[in-house]
């Protein structure tokens, strides 16, 4: 059972995997040799004694919450967000008895600024770089964040199809999105450009893993930014050595985590990933809920996840 296909959730080697239909093209590439069982959102299916269904999580394309109905109803949110995203179906609150929620950003300092204002800031910075004859290099997670950014940029600037270029890893995912019927602007590939092209005024969208690699040398005079929820904290931006940080996350911020727990009506909550301990304790003390940390196979790697170039899968 798979909520979505980020590397920290989907590992190759499983025999059969149930997932949402929109995730199929990506699953074919990421989980070769695995038998895929595809479902629509809200369509119940049975495994043994339990009834299951998938519901939109609003995280990335094809991301799903898992609802399990047996003696009691469980909901596993997987990674989710409640902000609008033109590239995936919006999160759907579900009532349940037990909620297993992610807590990547489970601290009250993580509260997202207005999405539109933040994107406007990014576009203004791009214009500023353009005016100064510089290139603009934006690091964003290749699956989800990059597509969301492209769709949002296209709404704000008519230069996107002419002046935005992407790294190959981003382009491959964009094709998957288009296959699944998500409209995205047509952007060109960095690697298709002839050598000694001037990159001044252009915006390059690349995964964070290329940061500090020889790949970025070709862009000449440029400024860099990282687009991630972690950019809410200045030290995190300085630590990554980028010029700017834009706070745009595919995860729920603290108020959204609390709201989701309350919307679910669950009396028992299990938190996982990130600051799970803080969220669980707060739910116990401030809301008298039966809340705890759900240990996962990835527990204890929060630090690595936060400092690695992957950003916030």
């Amino acid at each position: 059972m798979l909520t979505h296909l980020h590397a920290d959730h989907a590992r190759p080697g499983t025999r059969v995997v149930h997932l949402h239909r929109a995730a199929e093209p990506i699953a074919r590439r990421r989980l070769p040799g695995t038998e895929l069982v595809l479902h629509d959102y809200g369509e119940p299916f049975r495994l043994g004694d339990v009834e299951l269904s998938l519901h939109p999580a609003g995280h990335v394309l094809g991301s799903a919450q898992l609802r399990i109905v047996a003696d009691e109803t469980w909901v596993v949110t997987g990674d989710f967000k409640r902000d609008a995203d033109p590239t995936c179906a919006p999160f759907e609150p579900i009532r349940c008895d037990v909620l297993v929620t992610e807590a990547t950003f489970g601290l009250p300092v993580y509260r997202w600024p207005d999405v539109d204002a933040e994107l406007d800031r990014l576009v203004a910075w791009w214009e500023q770089n353009t005016a100064a004859g510089r290139a603009t290099l934006v690091y964003a997670y290749a699956f989800g964040k990059a597509q969301r950014l492209l769709a949002e940029l296209a709404r704000r600037s008519d230069r996107v199809e002419r002046d935005v270029f992407v790294h190959g890893a981003v382009a491959a995912l964009c094709d998957d999105y288009r296959t699944a019927g998500v409209p995205l602007p047509n952007v060109k590939l960095v690697r298709d450009e002839p050598k000694r092209t001037s990159w001044a005024g252009r915006l390059v969208l690349a995964p964070p893993s290329v940061r500090r690699s020889p790949w970025v040398r070709r862009f000449g005079d440029h400024e860099t930014a990282f687009v991630s929820g972690w950019m809410r904290v200045r030290g995190a931006r300085r630590g990554r050595g980028v010029d700017r940080g834009f706070v745009l996350s595919d995860h729920a911020d603290w108020p959204a985590l609390i709201r989701t727990v309350r919307d679910s009506g669950a009396r028992r909550v299990l938190a996982t990933h990130g600051f799970a301990g803080s969220l669980a304790r707060h739910l116990r003390e401030a809301y008298a809920l039966d809340a705890d940390v759900l240990p996962t196979a990835w527990e204890g790697e929060a630090g690595a996840e936060r400092t690695d170039d992957g950003g916030e899968p």
Partner: protein
């Protein structure tokens, strides 16, 4: 000079915050210098003075302690103390934590759990209250300038706790994010601009056209920010020596990071002891004596016994020297910690003066008979200094002797000097200073003329037992470590260290700490005592204030001893022995 530019800059706190933000996203010295210059040019004279003060590391005497400030924030936000602490640990900066927690979300609402638009708060009360508060701050004239902000902050300690908290909370609620952040940093005294003093001086030069050496000199000593002091600073006609008390910018030595032989023939160098005291300049002008510490603080009143002797210096004399605690008849100074007793006390009783007698060991003469000698070669300055000290004839004022060795039996001079340096600790000094004999006296750290050649530090192998999240660049990573050594079968903590590991090691250790946490105490975690690190430190002394009974000075990590099991780490006895040595 303050311009009459048609686009006036942002005023007061808004201007300071805007500059802070600009520097945060500007890289490169030239761009940063220009940003500072622009801000100074566009500011009023008074704002420029205060901006300069804060940029060059000036701080208000702590207005509200960080613990109290955190308390005010927690109470206003109704947040659990542990949750606040976890936030502070993740952010790595108290002011930024507060600034973030008071940030209204996209839909307003400032309760810690305050939700977004869907909760109906987007146009609700949360925001409107904020606007009213903002109005209150904006409307008061005296908040237009940094000077009036400083005044408002300085009043705070005199208010009763409740009023004080209420006032600060109003600001937190009303100000936009960056201003809230900068104001909080002013309150805690931790506003750091990240720009060097040299850069700031260069910016003032750009703005005023006054040569940077002159600005440097005018800024040395006391710079009290005000409209008048800014105008005096940037006035091309002011006599730079108008303020008689002013010391010269201190010359600073670089650590010797090359083989001494690379310095060339030893005859071209003057070697002296590296004293472990307080670096100071004695200024004797206009019939008055001032003693300045290297931090450019006046410490004259800490050394009445010395001043008594120094009044005999001729007018127009400036000495560069070391303040030491030194018992008469002894051939080595007392430890540095003894000297600090002079500085720490509010009242210097006769007992301290008797038990910790001060001595001035002079090594340079910067001004004689009112003449600036800094351009003449060191040998000449030293010769005149020797004469001066001899004429003074005080047992409290000595010449820092030249350390001289002779090459013999095929052993060259540098090797003889290196051997002499080995005995530094026994002689109560930190090592040697090497100064080029024909060098002028240059303020600041100009590489090449002055080297400090310290004795190698002590090292021990210790076990990592606690970790805490770091600050700034390392925010959110566990980078503040506590180390322990063995004593009677248990580990006792002896040192905290923050530096010495590379980024990859820090990340690896961070991940390990998360997986091997034994217990949490707020932001601090105890970890399984497994990893051994080699620590270096400058000194170790017996201490009653530490549970271990010893205190180490300047501990830092040399390397990760992956080869060593915890059981083979050093024992407390090793440190105790070093402390007695």
């Amino acid at each position: 000079m303050t311009s009459t530019s048609s686009t006036p800059g942002l005023r007061g706190l808004t201007g300071l915050a805007a500059l802070h933000e600009r520097l945060e996203v500007t890289s490169g010295t030239t761009a940063k210098t220009e940003a500072v210059a622009r801000a100074l040019r566009e500011a009023t004279a008074s704002d420029a003075a205060w901006t300069l003060f804060f940029l060059s590391g000036g701080r208000l005497k702590r207005v509200i302690g960080p613990a109290r400030l955190a308390e005010h924030a927690r109470a206003a936000l109704a947040i659990e103390p542990w949750l606040f602490d976890e936030c502070a640990a993740a952010v790595g900066d108290l002011s930024e934590t507060i600034a973030l927690l008071f940030e209204h979300g996209a839909g307003g609402g400032e309760l810690v759990d305050g939700s977004r638009a869907e909760d109906g708060d987007r146009d609700g009360d949360g925001d409107r209250d904020g606007d009213e508060d903002r109005h209150e701050v904006r409307d008061r004239d005296h908040f237009e300038s940094l000077a009036s902000w400083v005044e408002a902050l300085r009043v705070l300690p005199m208010l009763d706790e409740e009023t004080r908290a209420a006032r600060v909370v109003v600001w937190w609620r009303a100000l936009p994010f960056v201003e809230r952040l900068v104001l909080t940093k002013l309150l805690t005294g931790e506003l750091r601009s990240g720009v060097s003093r040299t850069l700031v001086v260069r910016a003032v030069e750009l703005v005023s056209g006054v040569a940077r050496e002159v600005i440097e000199h005018r800024l040395t000593g006391t710079f009290e920010p005000s409209e008048a002091s800014w105008r005096a600073l940037v006035d091309p006609s002011t006599d730079a020596l108008a303020d008689a008390s002013r010391p010269y910018p201190f010359a600073l030595a670089s650590p010797l990071d090359l083989v001494p032989a690379e310095l060339g023939p030893i005859d071209a160098w003057i070697a002296e002891n590296k004293w472990d005291g307080i670096r100071a300049q004695v200024v004797r002008r206009s019939g008055t004596t001032w003693i300045w510490s290297r931090g450019e603080e006046l410490v004259t009143d800490r050394f009445p016994d010395l001043v008594r002797e120094l009044v005999a210096l001729p007018d127009g004399t400036v000495l560069d020297a070391e303040l030491l605690a030194w018992l008469d008849g002894s051939d080595a100074p007392l430890p540095f910690a003894e000297l600090l007793k002079r500085i720490g006390r509010t009242k210097l009783g006769p007992k301290i003066l008797r038990e910790v007698p001060a001595r001035l060991v002079a090594y340079d003469l910067l001004e004689a008979q009112g003449e600036d000698l800094r351009e003449s070669p060191l040998v000449e300055r030293r010769a005149r200094l020797a004469e001066l000290v001899q004429t003074l004839g005080s047992s409290r004022v000595a010449l820092s002797p030249r350390v001289e060795v002779e090459a013999s039996d095929g052993v060259d001079g540098w090797s003889m000097l290196a051997a002499h340096r080995e005995s530094s600790r026994a002689r109560g000094v930190e090592g040697l200073m090497l100064k080029r004999a024909d060098s002028p006296y240059r303020g600041g750290r100009k590489r090449g003329d002055w080297w400090k050649w310290k004795v190698d530090p002590f090292t021990i192998d210790a076990v990592l037992i606690y970790a805490q999240a770091g600050h700034g660049k390392r925010a959110g990573l566990f980078t503040d470590y506590t180390f322990a050594v063995w004593h009677e079968g248990a580990l006792v903590s002896v040192a905290k260290a923050y530096t010495g590991l590379d980024d990859a090691e820090i990340r690896e250790l961070d991940a390990w700490i998360r997986r091997h946490t034994v217990e949490r105490f707020g932001p601090v975690r105890s970890v399984e005592p497994v990893h051994v690190f080699e620590l270096a430190f400058e000194d170790v002394r017996a201490s009653t204030r530490h549970k271990s009974g010893v205190a180490v000075r300047f501990p830092r990590i040399v390397r990760w001893r992956r080869d060593k099991p915890a059981a083979e780490a050093d024992t407390l006895a090793v440190l105790q022995k070093l402390a007695r040595a």
